[in-house]
């Protein structure tokens, strides 16, 4: 009896250990070797590249996604979306396995085009709208030649947006920490102000207290309809998330979300 119990406990312990050891090992392996910055256009100094790589690794690990930057002078004059798709098929990035979760920022210096693509988890969490938002955030800096700054913004925004459930607006004011702090402070001030003003007693009488109900009342009452005015406004169509718009499928058969533009 005792022996049997001991065996079971041992087995359970070993199972636990295996899970505990193998789990982290698998993820640890992933981020390690593959580069995340492919600066073929040569925009970055070696230090910038190294620091951005560390940053992309750190933020990407929290979202189980490879955050990739790909710049090219594109001498063949390929389309920026095709470039991005081929890049994914060829380099096969992905956080925990090849051809997995990845978001790619491609800069084509031939046409000065920009393309953002999200694969798998990044496709789900970074739909076309969110990628549009990221692109709009970094385009001014790219146009100014502030590449390092733009890339930092890109990494941080990808990290931030992937923290919100798919489908919600990531720039909703309610999600803003300053709004939350400010709102809480305003509520606090209002409550304390009310308490302070009430500490000295407050007026508790109203007109009803002194109204002579037997003689008071409405003697005449008219509500005359005059006219109706109508204004109309065109409803802005919100193309919902998922396929369509900027996304597509690579020749290798991997579908992705996307956003394209120029800088």
């Amino acid at each position: 009896m005792n022996k049997r119990r001991a065996t079971w406990s041992l087995l359970a312990m070993m199972l636990c250990l295996t899970v505990m050891l193998i789990g982290p090992l698998q993820t640890a392996k992933a981020a390690g070797d593959q580069p995340l910055i492919y600066d073929e256009a040569g925009l970055l100094s070696p230090e910038d590249k190294e620091e951005l790589t560390i940053m992309a690794k750190e933020y990407g690990a929290k979202r189980d996604t490879d955050i990739i930057i790909y710049t090219s002078n594109n001498p063949e004059g390929q389309d920026v979306q095709i470039m991005t798709e081929d890049f994914y098929d060829e380099k096969a990035p992905g956080y925990d396995h090849p051809l997995g979760n990845a978001v790619i920022l491609t800069l084509d210096f031939n046409h000065r085009d920009i393309y953002l693509a999200g694969f798998y988890k990044a496709k789900e969490y970074l739909d076309d709208q969110r990628l549009d938002k990221i692109r709009n955030k970094i385009t001014p800096d790219l146009s100014d030649g502030e590449y390092r700054l733009a890339f930092e913004k890109y990494i941080k925004t990808v990290y931030k947006y992937m923290g919100y459930k798919p489908g919600v607006n990531p720039d909703n004011i309610l999600f803003n920490i300053w709004f939350q702090l400010g709102g809480a402070a305003v509520i606090g001030i209002i409550v304390v102000a009310i308490m302070t003003s009430r500490s000295g007693g407050r007026v508790t009488v109203s007109g009803r207290t002194y109204e002579d109900k037997s003689t008071s009342g409405v003697l005449e009452h008219q509500d005359a309809y005059i006219r109706t005015t109508t204004t109309r406004r065109k409803i802005e169509k919100n193309t919902s998330s998922g396929s369509g718009g900027g996304g597509g499928t690579t020749s290798g058969g991997h579908s992705h979300s996307g956003s394209r533009g120029s800088f």
Partner: protein, 343 residues
């Protein structure tokens, strides 16, 4: 003979008004007399004498020192309750009085309880052990009967928003509105004493009118009473001002079901039908806290306490921090439930 005292027919001691039984009672032998049955000496009195005269206590003969507004007090030498008849006769005779229902002991207790309930007051204040004085004062009020004829013209809208096809339509219906209202207010109280803080007295309301009694001087025995500093005509503008917001609220209550209402013309014709001179019971509390004097007033019938207590900065800060923290967590939770990250 303008100084009135109530001597006990049994033992000769000074009698005072007892708030519990509403009778004139003798603290020495316990005799109680029904106030309704006592002939009011005011009624037998001749016309009022000079303002500048001296009053002498009928018990000990000492000069009674009073403010010119005081119409009842206690002799500072022997403690007898004295009523200064000529300051309550003629034009100065109150029509009605609400007697005290809360005795001094009950008032002290009620005040201490109120102090303990203060959420923002310093803990040293909450123990309420620094009461310097507790004075029962009959405060003069004017009770106005105000008849109002109100006529309002205005413009109102009803807005409906709907979508059809690719468009959002905002449909606004416009209405011309008219109301003719008769609005009568009875016994609107305005405090008529110069000494009393108007704001404090306004907050003391409501005074329970079911306890209004025809005025009789024995009600004042043992308390301080003041005579009015301003007559009913002088205070009519304040009374009109006071009912103005009542009238506005009433008008608004008759115009309902609209999205927006704006008044183009509001005519309020106020007619002061009557103004009765009344005395209302108020306990004034003098409180000394950290070398500063605080004044509170308590409704002598309902026990409602008003007056600015000291505030503890630490408690205000603690409340702010607490409310801030809870609201912040709530906002975080809302954001989290809507799909935002928790951090």
């Amino acid at each position: 003979m303008s100084v009135i005292e109530y001597k006990c027919p049994n033992c000769g001691s000074g009698m005072v008004f007892d708030s519990e039984t509403e009778m004139l009672s003798c603290p020495s032998c316990g005799r109680k007399d029904n106030i309704e049955n006592i002939p009011d000496p005011l009624k037998q009195q001749a016309n009022a004498e000079d303002e500048a005269q001296e009053y002498h206590c009928t018990s000990c003969g000492a000069v009674i020192l009073t403010d010119p507004e005081t119409s009842a007090t206690t002799c500072s030498f022997c403690g007898s309750a004295v009523v200064l008849g000529d300051r309550l006769s003629g034009k100065l005779t109150p029509a009605v009085v609400i007697p005290f229902a809360i005795s001094k002991e009950e008032a002290v207790k009620a005040f201490k309880k109120w102090c303990r309930n203060g959420l923002l007051t310093p803990s040293g204040f909450m123990s309420a052990d620094r009461i310097k004085g507790m004075t029962g004062i009959y405060v003069p009020f004017w009770l106005y009967e105000l008849h109002n004829n109100v006529e309002v013209h205005g413009h109102a809208t009803k807005v409906r928003i709907y979508t059809s096809g690719d468009y959002e339509y905002t449909e606004t219906q416009h209405f011309e509105i008219y109301r003719k209202i008769r609005l009568n207010y009875l016994k609107v109280p305005i405090d008529a004493s110069e000494k009393m803080n108007d704001e404090l007295m306004d907050k003391l309301e409501p005074f329970p009118y079911e306890h209004l009694k025809e005025f009789k001087t024995p009600y004042l025995a043992g308390y301080i009473a003041e005579k009015y500093s301003y007559d009913d005509k002088a205070l009519l503008p304040r009374a009109k001002d006071k009912i103005r917001e009542f009238i506005d609220a009433y008008i608004a209550s008759t115009v309902s079901g609209y999205t927006s209402v704006s008044y183009t013309d509001k005519q309020i014709d106020t007619n002061a039908k009557q103004a009765d001179y009344a005395l209302f019971p108020v306990w004034m509390v003098q409180y000394d806290f950290r070398k500063k004097d605080y004044t509170f007033a308590m409704n002598g019938q309902t026990g409602k306490v008003v007056g600015k207590p000291p505030l503890s900065k630490a408690k205000v800060a603690a409340w702010f921090a607490g409310v801030f923290g809870v609201s912040f967590i709530c906002l975080k939770l809302i954001s989290w439930m809507m799909g935002g990250g928790f951090l």
